[in-house]
């Protein structure tokens, strides 16, 4: 007798800490035959709302595109406006921005540790890493006033300088995290359950990489050394010494090893930043925000987020409102055509783990 395919709906209630989205699966037994991503649960039309706001009001929406990773979006907005209006950013502000971006990268990867393990039923790791992430959020709170949303890297520099003694706190937090990462290795990477559930699972074929616009740890997990911080350096990344980790497996395990190594590299970068950071101004004065007419033109700026390329296409028509702001998120390509392409043949129990390893962030897709 022929087995009949069954339709299974995964989501839209957070299918693995990825945000509200749904994957419609056709399954034969436990094996996926086809998959289709459905979004539409989180559309807030931020980019439409930006058309009604002035250039600084509009900035406050930026950090809300992807909740676990807010800082690269702020950085993009600031750089887009600076690029359009030819604003010079003080050197100190660039160093501070890199410190914030790398702290954010670590915080995002700690959240990923939780999501990736949680999707496999390994909850202790999540309790540890989310707890440790809070130490970074403490730093953000002291620096910016906000734990998750910061609104700190604004056009012209950063909103305020480092508080007194802040560098020491950052270094102590990094020392602590470095020790904790060894515990993470014992609990996660040495765990035979984690190994068996991730090795050979969620394989991204190398021929799919260009076709699907694969970026970030997914790209580097397939053995390709590509990172916007090196390929098209922004802020002061060209003055810093760090490595781009790669792996060959192109499965969840390989991507996990890449992310693990990237946390170590971020720690290395922040230490250099604190060592090299010059004294001086932390922002450039900008025009009165209520009357600020950014020069007409268009630009596309990119940044390497913890999940890969995020980009921002910005257009000004010379008025006080942005004409068009359009975000390209890493998840936008990974969680739709790539996910739909790699799921057939996989086990239904692995879908959440695969989504996590691709850096899925639903709010970024529909914005």
């Amino acid at each position: 007798m022929r087995e009949k395919a069954t339709t299974l709906y995964l989501g839209p209630q957070h299918p693995g800490i990825t945000g509200n989205m749904m994957v419609r699966l056709k399954v034969m037994g436990d094996t996926i035959v086809s998959a289709q991503t459905e979004v539409g649960y989180l559309h807030r039309a931020f980019e439409k709302l930006q058309e009604r706001r002035n250039w600084l009001n509009s900035f406050t929406l930026m950090c809300r595109f992807c909740v676990p990773e807010t800082d690269p979006m702020e950085n993009l907005y600031a750089r887009a406006v600076e690029s359009l209006d030819n604003i010079e950013v003080p050197e100190r502000a660039k160093y501070i921005r890199v410190m914030v971006l790398e702290l954010a990268r670590i915080a995002t990867q700690l959240m990923w540790y939780a999501g990736q393990n949680g999707s496999l039923g390994l909850y202790t790791m999540g309790q540890w890493s989310i707890g440790d992430r809070d130490y970074i959020l403490d730093l953000f709170e002291q620096l910016t006033g906000g734990r998750v949303y910061h609104m700190y890297q604004w056009p012209g520099g950063v909103r305020r300088d480092l508080p007194e003694g802040f560098e020491g706190k950052v270094l102590r937090t990094l020392d602590y995290l470095e020790k904790r990462l060894k515990d993470y290795d014992d609990l996660m990477f040495s765990n035979s359950i984690f190994q068996k559930r991730t090795q050979g699972v969620g394989y991204v074929p190398k021929e799919s990489i260009i076709e699907h616009g694969v970026v970030g740890p997914v790209l580097r997990g397939a053995g390709i050394r590509s990172d916007i911080r090196i390929d098209e350096p922004y802020e002061v990344y060209d003055k810093l010494d760090f490595e781009i980790p790669t792996q060959e497996g192109s499965d969840i395990w390989a991507r996990a090893l890449v992310r693990r190594a990237e946390v170590h590299q971020s720690i290395r970068i922040i230490r250099q930043v604190l060592d090299q950071m010059p004294k001086g101004e932390f922002n450039t004065s900008i025009p009165n925000p209520m009357k600020w007419r950014v020069k007409a033109g268009d630009t596309y700026v990119r940044a390497e987020s913890a999940r890969g390329e995020v980009g921002y296409y910005a257009v000004s028509d010379g008025t006080i409102h942005p004409r068009r702001m359009h975000l390209r998120g890493a998840a936008y390509v990974h969680a739709i055509t790539l996910l739909e392409n790699i799921l057939p043949g996989q086990n239904v129990a692995d879908v959440s783990a695969i989504m996590n390893s691709l850096g899925t962030c639903a709010p970024e897709i529909e914005r």
Binding site: G40, G213, E232, Y300, H326, T337
Partner: protein, 188 residues
């Protein structure tokens, strides 16, 4: 970088004489191409000039000129050059060529453009709905779509939750407590 860009501009001009180049500093290369030439142009950029990565397809509504603009943003990993390919589409007849056979991910971008701007891609195979559900108004990212008017027409305030209330006066009315003198100057 200038040498690389000059060489690329010469190659593009030779293959597509009608493509219009605009000069930019840094690693930005910028061409405007007729919409009918887009699939061939992009395919050539990908296969012959090393622009293997499609970063994005951005869209703008130039309502004053009665046109939509699509901007294909490409990246060359070997030459580290960013290519902007602009094309304009008549707002009255918004039809564009599908390019998802060149990059599969373009399917997602085009689905968004179709839904949010109303540009049709006749050759594209995709489910009808992407982000919006049962949408029966004009595409919402067109400039003439008025978000405020739509919200006022579609939704309504619950009694007591009307907009633009003075917070202090409303609380005072409900609770019967008077607004302290020092706070009165802040009320409308």
């Amino acid at each position: 970088m200038k040498e690389i860009k000059d060489k690329m501009i010469a190659q593009i001009n030779a293959a597509f004489p009608e493509a219009v180049n605009k000069a930019y500093d840094g690693n930005r290369l910028d061409f405007t191409v007729h919409k009918d030439a887009i699939p061939g142009f992009l395919s050539h950029m990908k296969d012959q000039l090393g622009f293997r990565h499609l970063s994005h397809i951005a869209y703008v509504d130039w309502i004053e000129e009665n046109e939509f603009e699509l901007v294909y943003l490409l990246w060359s990993p070997t030459d580290k050059v960013k290519l902007f390919v602009h094309t304009r589409i008549d707002r009255e007849n918004p039809v564009m060529h599908n390019i998802d056979m060149i990059w599969r991910q373009a399917n997602t971008y085009q689905r968004e453009i179709k839904e949010m701007l109303g540009i049709d891609f006749p050759d594209m195979v995709a489910p009808d709905e992407f982000i919006l559900e049962d949408w029966d108004d004009i595409p919402p990212f067109r400039r003439d779509f008025d978000t405020l008017e739509y919200v006022n027409r579609t939704f309504w305030h619950r009694p007591g939750r009307e907009d633009a209330q003075d917070v202090r006066e409303t609380i005072s009315k409900r609770s019967g407590e008077e607004i302290p003198d020092f706070a009165k100057k802040y009320s409308r």
